[in-house]
């Protein structure tokens, strides 16, 4: 199996589509894999539900959307409730515990991305970058160097330092998670050997 699917979900304005683009660029352009990034959103500019998906594979990708995500990032309660049933049985669930108060699984990896963005970075809009850092660390789907290169190439000029800081905060938060929760069985490398 070479197909690895990531779904980033939450509400409009949380930067999930940007996060999807950065993840796809890291895996595709910097890591050299085949990638397909799709999105779904409503007519609203903010609020409403928002979803970005990244399919990563070693070979040409046929169906561009996620079929059964290996990873689900839920940045609010509604998206967590809606998409948890699509997740692979042994898939990784990462939630923003700032907004997701009722976690549907004991295996969920909860990190308060938005809270950390507010307190540690000083900008709530950086929650998506923190989440990306954590996601990459927990899943190994992209190398951290590629991710950092992709982040710095995409973000507006002048915000590189802040974004780098956000990324590092996310990586640290993921490393500090209690070990028994870190479900390594379905990380990208392991899924290739199935």
């Amino acid at each position: 199996m070479t197909r690895y699917e990531v779904r980033l979900s939450g509400s409009g304005g949380q930067g999930l589509i940007v996060a999807g683009i950065i993840l796809a660029e890291a895996a595709g352009v910097y890591d050299g894999k085949c990638v397909c990034q799709t999105q779904s959103y409503g007519p609203e500019a903010r609020g409403g539900s928002s979803k970005a998906e990244v399919v990563i594979s070693d070979e040409e990708i046929d169906y561009p959307k996620a079929i059964k995500p290996d990873v689900l990032l839920a940045m609010n309660q509604k998206s967590c409730d809606t998409y948890i049933f699509d997740l692979k049985p042994d898939g990784i669930l990462i939630v923003d515990s700032t907004y997701v108060k009722q976690v549907p699984s004991t295996r969920a990896l909860a990190i308060p991305f938005t809270q950390m963005a507010r307190d540690d970075v000083g900008k709530e809009m950086m929650a998506n970058i923190i989440a990306l850092g954590a996601l990459a660390t927990l899943t190994g789907v992209v190398s951290l160097t590629s991710l950092e290169a992709a982040v710095l190439a995409r973000v507006p000029v002048g915000t590189e330092e802040l974004n780098k800081k956000a990324l590092d905060i996310g990586i640290e938060a993921a490393k500090n998670l209690p070990k028994e929760n870190a479900e390594k069985e379905v990380s990208y490398e392991n899924s290739l050997n199935e």
Binding site: A24, Q37, I67
Partner: protein
């Protein structure tokens, strides 16, 4: 095309790849009115064109956009516009003008849910028949469908080439999924792409007969301002471009504009076949649905079902010559599409009892999944 990205791998959205394809094909004029899900084409054109000495104009509406595109093309510049269903409806009047005046141009229609303003942010394939018959009267037209970001680049180049070669509007039908899907593609160097330009007159201006017949059925086209004077009209015209009501001039004109397309079917009609050699059941799909179909066909093959895929690149003129032999040899055909059955209707029309045609339609703004096609495929 001078671009720093040539030869590099980049992550591009379908819409952005259409822009890169157009620029690579020599497009230097874009007039449009932004509309979801085609807005990114206008946006990218607005910052890419000035850098290559091109012109971008945001017009007051789609009627004017199409008018500006025709004007630019008559002045000798390769021109394009992009829109979605509601805007495409507005373009139809001038699209007919481009057909009759034989003005090369490319129109991108990124399909979204309709009718009317419909479902603006979600996918559909509801404009297949509008692309063919949206403008009134008998007219030839070329319509190409794209399914991947790489397609968006290469088919756009092809669209410009066909449009220049046959002096006809060419419509690119994209859909919300392919337009917004980002994929890694390699942008080729300018030398790697075949770019065709319209044949220009090589006789002295006094000898130029603008709509004179020839073996290809495509008269040479001069640019306005080059000294070749001629009349351009939407009325049926004689060889000099002036309106005519004489049957002995109307018939040769109409026959010629059809013949220039019909006698070049082999060049125009493109179908991508996969595993069709020994197929017993066939999926016919186009646009983003063909990606679902490809996965379903591969999965069916793994389970021992002899399935094949015919992906239509050219929708119109309908590739009958390719499809008929396929229909003749398979047990059944499934046509999945995101409308109530527009292309399946055409396939049924040419089928004439050769095989069994089944349809799979979805009109709720979501892409047909491989699982849905697979489930039908194994029961065919």
């Amino acid at each position: 095309m001078a671009t720093k990205n040539a030869g590099r791998q980049v992550l591009l959205q379908g819409n952005e790849a259409i822009v890169e394809g157009a620029l690579a094909a020599g497009c230097r004029f874009f007039a449009g009115y932004p509309i979801t899900p085609a807005t990114e084409i206008s946006e990218a054109m607005s910052y890419r064109l000035p850098g290559v000495d091109g012109t971008f104009i945001q017009m007051e509406d789609e009627i004017a956009s199409m008018g500006a595109v025709i004007g630019a093309s008559l002045a000798g510049v390769k021109a394009m516009t992009a829109t979605s269903g509601p805007g495409f409806s507005l373009m139809q009047e001038n699209l007919g003008f481009a057909c009759v005046a034989e003005v090369p141009c490319v129109i991108v229609d990124v399909m979204r849910g309709g009718p009317s303003t419909g479902i603006p942010t979600h996918v559909s394939q509801g404009d297949v028949m509008q692309a063919r018959w949206g403008t009134h009267g008998d007219h030839p037209i070329i319509v190409l469908a794209v399914s991947t970001t790489q397609d968006c680049f290469s088919i756009t180049v092809k669209a410009f080439n066909l449009s220049e070669k046959y002096r006809t509007p060419v419509i690119i039908l994209a859909d919300e999924v392919v337009a917004h899907t980002r994929e890694k593609i390699r942008l080729p160097h300018p030398g790697e792409i075949e770019v065709l330009d319209r044949i220009r007159p090589n006789m002295p201006p006094d000898w130029y007969i603008p709509y004179e017949n020839n073996s290809r059925g495509v008269p040479p086209m001069s640019s306005f301002g080059e000294g070749y004077r001629y009349h351009v009209t939407g009325l049926i015209h004689d060889v000099r471009g002036f309106p005519t009501e004489r049957p002995d001039e109307i018939v040769p004109f109409m026959n010629r504009i059809f013949r220039k397309i019909n006698q070049h079917f082999a060049d125009i009609q493109m179908v991508h076949e996969e595993s069709t050699e020994d197929a017993e059941v066939l999926v016919v799909a186009y646009g983003s649905v063909s990606r679902s179909a490809r996965r379903a066909v591969r999965e069916a093959r793994q389970r021992g079902v002899k399935a094949g895929l015919a992906q239509l690149i050219t929708l119109w003129p309908f590739p009958r010559q390719t499809m008929e032999p396929l229909l003749r040899k398979v047990r059944a055909v499934l046509v999945p599409e995101l409308n109530m059955g527009q292309m399946s209707r055409e396939i049924k029309r040419i089928n004439q009892g050769m095989t069994r045609i089944e349809t799979l339609n979805r009109i709720d703004g979501t892409l047909i999944t491989p699982a849905e096609i697979f489930a039908r495929l194994v029961k065919l």
